[in-house]
């Protein structure tokens, strides 16, 4: 079995009520799985904004040279 680290998070009862209502008809069978789904979505969109991707100029030039030689770039 995978080493699972589930934990409990407390949320206000009125919010839990709203979540429960929102869950209706979604196919989720527990509030935990629904909240997990929503949190993954939120966190993933935040992480996307945080990330940057850089290749060094030298690297890029080398790659472009190969791409030109193979006909991918003019």
């Amino acid at each position: 079995m995978a080493e699972k680290n589930y934990t409990t998070v407390s949320i206000p009862k009125p919010l839990a009520k709203k979540v429960k209502k929102r869950m209706e008809g979604t196919g989720f069978n527990s509030m935990s799985s629904y909240v997990t789904y929503v949190l993954r979505q939120v966190i993933s969109s935040m992480e996307e904004e945080d990330q940057t991707e850089d290749f060094s100029e030298e690297d890029e030039e080398k790659v472009k040279e190969r791409l030109r030689a193979l006909g991918y770039l003019d």
Binding site: A2, F55, L67, L70
Partner: protein, 384 residues
């Protein structure tokens, strides 16, 4: 453009200097000879196609992938990338040891830092990945034929990639720089293992009309007897793209990997790989990566709903046909005509025509593409 899966594009290729040193050291190391599928896995790890993996899975990640379709840090991941060894080999190796990985031809090409040696239950693995233990399923068969033990740990590949198709081989780093250079921000990936017919072109161009570019990414590797040979697929696409696609809007390069026929789970895996190449969208057709009747026709599309954090937009296509009244490829959303006016794009029918030396009709396949296929004496993979 999509960020690499897990946030960082993995690069486990040694520098020139390090390669030379590792090659020398490898002569003194114990070795494992890989088959072509495992060699491709190593290359895909090293080049970042399997980002965020930096090596073969260790036990905890392996269990998480089987049970949760995620790595142990919660990153979506549906197929276990593992290296299997015999009991005898396991007894000769120890955790903490560095070993040399050799290609199928016995050429040293990578090192593996053994972090864990562990056993696994093949039936459980088959059940969790393929949803069946039926050994008629090619993926289950492959699993049951694996050795009984696994080695987990990071790999480092020596400098050179090993490919028979240099012209069409691009790494994720290269495609990312290429897409950036072309000014593409939204890119749709298309997975294929077939010669393109008019139905494929319809799907690709429909998707392309909503994004900046299309990345056609044929999977190259072990195939079933009767499938088109890799050279035939590549030449056929080269012809099609040269004649009917804008160079500034379409790119093709190969993906060297083996099909597992894991249906829905493989569809997610295919999307992850294309995300690493820089794609933002991925085309998922009917029974994507399926085989026989093991999966429902749209299971591979529905599974995307379970991964809100995949950061890839699946582009779902239902079945499409040729309609003689519409005069082109259609699907149920756009064509009002009855079945009597429709004809399926049957890959089997087209393959049989080629076997008889005939050309498929123009409404099924571009004549230039058919001609390219016919130019090959050996069109299909033979029985081993």
């Amino acid at each position: 453009m999509s960020k690499p899966h897990g946030g960082t594009l993995v690069n486990q290729i040694a520098s020139d200097k390090k390669s030379e040193r590792l090659k020398e050291e490898a002569q003194e190391m114990k070795n494992i000879k890989l088959d072509s599928g495992l060699r491709k896995d190593v290359q895909n790890i090293a080049n970042g196609v399997y980002s965020p993996l930096t090596g073969f899975l260790k036990r905890n990640d392996f269990d998480w992938v089987l049970e949760e379709s995620r790595l142990s840090d919660d990153t979506p991941w549906t197929l276990p990338i593992v290296l299997d060894i015999t009991k005898q080999r396991r007894d000769e190796l120890s955790e903490g040891e560095e070993i040399c990985l050799e290609t199928e031809n016995g050429k040293p090409f990578a090192t593996l830092d053994i972090e864990e040696l562990y056993g696994f239950d093949k039936k459980r693995m088959a059940r969790e990945i393929y949803g069946t233990e039926d050994e008629d399923h090619p993926g289950v068969q492959r699993t049951m034929n694996m050795n009984d033990h696994l080695v987990g740990g990071d790999i480092v590949q020596f400098k050179e990639n090993s490919t028979d198709f240099e012209k069409f081989h691009l790494t994720p780093k290269e495609t990312r720089i290429l897409f950036k250079e072309k000014g593409w921000r939204s890119i749709v990936g298309f997975q294929t293992r077939n010669v393109p017919h008019m139905g494929h072109e319809y799907v690709q161009k429909t998707a392309l009309s909503f994004v900046d570019g299309i990345f056609i990414n044929p999977i190259i590797g072990k195939k079933k007897p009767g499938d088109y040979r890799d050279e035939v697929i590549l030449d056929a696409y080269d012809t099609l793209m040269g004649e009917y696609y804008l160079k500034d809007r379409a790119v093709m390069s190969i993906l060297e990997a083996e099909m597992r026929y894991a249906g829905p789970k493989e569809a997610i895996f295919h999307a992850i790989m294309r995300k690493n190449f820089g794609c933002t969208h991925f085309i998922v057709g009917r029974d994507h990566a399926g085989v026989g009747d093991y999966y429902g026709p749209y299971e591979a599309q529905d599974i995307f709903n379970k991964f809100p954090d995949l950061d890839m937009t699946p582009v779902h296509f239902k079945s499409f046909t040729y309609c003689e009244k519409c005069g082109g490829a259609v699907d149920g959303h756009i064509c009002p005509h009855d079945d009597e006016h429709r004809e399926n794009f049957s890959g089997t029918k087209m393959r049989n025509m080629f076997k008889d030396g005939k050309t498929p009709p123009e409404h099924m396949m571009r004549p230039e593409v058919a001609e390219t296929v016919l130019e090959h004496d050996e069109k299909f993979v033979k029985e081993e």
